[in-house]
Symmetry: C2
Subunit: 296 residues, 2 copies
Amino acid sequence: MDTKTSNFADWQQDAMGAFEPFLVDACRNGLRGAPARLREAIESGLLSGGKRVRPSLALLGCEAAGGDLEAALPAAAAVEMIHAYSLIHDDIPCMDDDDIRRGHPAVHIEFGEWTAVLAGDALQAMAFRVLANQACTATGCRQAGCLAEAAGPRGMVGGQFLDMNSRGSQASYREVEKIHLGKTGALIEASIQMGVLAGGGNPDSWVQFSRSLGLLFQATDDILDVTAQESEIGKPTGRDKEEGKVTLVASEGLDGAIEKATSLAEASTRFLEDAQPLRRSAVLEDLVNYILQRCR
Amino acid sequence: MDTKTSNFADWQQDAMGAFEPFLVDACRNGLRGAPARLREAIESGLLSGGKRVRPSLALLGCEAAGGDLEAALPAAAAVEMIHAYSLIHDDIPCMDDDDIRRGHPAVHIEFGEWTAVLAGDALQAMAFRVLANQACTATGCRQAGCLAEAAGPRGMVGGQFLDMNSRGSQASYREVEKIHLGKTGALIEASIQMGVLAGGGNPDSWVQFSRSLGLLFQATDDILDVTAQESEIGKPTGRDKEEGKVTLVASEGLDGAIEKATSLAEASTRFLEDAQPLRRSAVLEDLVNYILQRCR
């Protein structure tokens, strides 16, 4: 695929034509022979919708670094598996206790709590299986290291811990930022970095962009929880305040949060302009705007 | 280390002199900068005792294949991290709801349920981080694939699902075997296979031995739940029956279970004799006996 589009939605529609079948295959291969009900729970968590932002970033990172999108399919599938597992675990009663996800009953509602815990556990293993099942190259190994670091106690899980641990407290912007960099930013960063690695590029030069984009993404999530309707985002809104979550809106107010999101989007766009000429630069820029526009 | 001992306990004491500091280092490196309370929960799950059977098997597999024990330290640490995460998750209320582990309060008792879920999640990521942080060789990549497969929905997690799902039912020996091969056997197999890979050997030739040993290990666990005192095994006994678990004792009776365990031990020993001359053969044979003797 090498369309000339500068529109993220158009690019994504094409790219998902390659990604979705790859993801379904990787999932089914990893599940062949597994207990049927566990398989259903895992497929329900992984394959029933979602915006596929993280895999898109992996594929775009690969293209931007000069590679073919196909080279980043395993990384894209792996990061989506990690994301799906994190949502399944976040929704269980002892965590966020959410019943609805992507417009459907959460996995723990449909399949029960212990099956949800096991489905999440299995998906994490499946993510590393997909990476390891590529030809065993140094790139695959570096991708696994990158994903493991991002998913671990200093990354996504650490961020979720801080999020849970801060419930009901008043937090400064710096604390909110730390939570967001962990629970959302780490995996966004890893998506881009694994993609850039697959494309033969240097992930270090993407750190600033990845960080801004990760923070922007969680900022809009916090804002949408206040401003959106359930039908728009596929899960109940207004939950953050009910749960006493430390969010950007709680710390900065709604206007302040929108201001922050706007300046994070500007920082991301600036990186892309400064890095010109970059393949897929226009699509990445449109993605930044797409994320920002969701909350304005 | 190259002692001439044929005694597993002696061998293990020496080997753990290399393994424990490596594990502590790998754990602390992976946790540097993580939230303090999460770090404590993870260290409590990973570093407060345990028989270290799986890491020992990885190290022995490496030596048997002709390698130096040091080459298998990352694999040994990774498999222990996966094992520790599985125990933490197994103990939470919606799973086995056990309060005591290794003679101490379970992680969910000491740190709370959601911290236990996150500590387990983090440990799984840390396991793959340790493997990926070796020099990025084909061996490291194959080890990661082996561990991911064993830890996933067809292996350990699949076995735990079957175990949970069969509670209260009457199971045939074949069904018990399937549960045991998954929840315990898969990781025992992966330990040996990763070790053999580290030592430059062919893991395929170890499949029969690994399977017998894995089944033996879970068989003795089932037997000890009926015959042992809490003080001997560091967790309450008699729980299997209370929970309606499908076990070897429930399916075969106590005498039948001991008979099965004995014949699994014989099968393991036969492999070692047939495979002579094998480095560490005597230590492996003593390990088989050590496992069997625990339950007789």
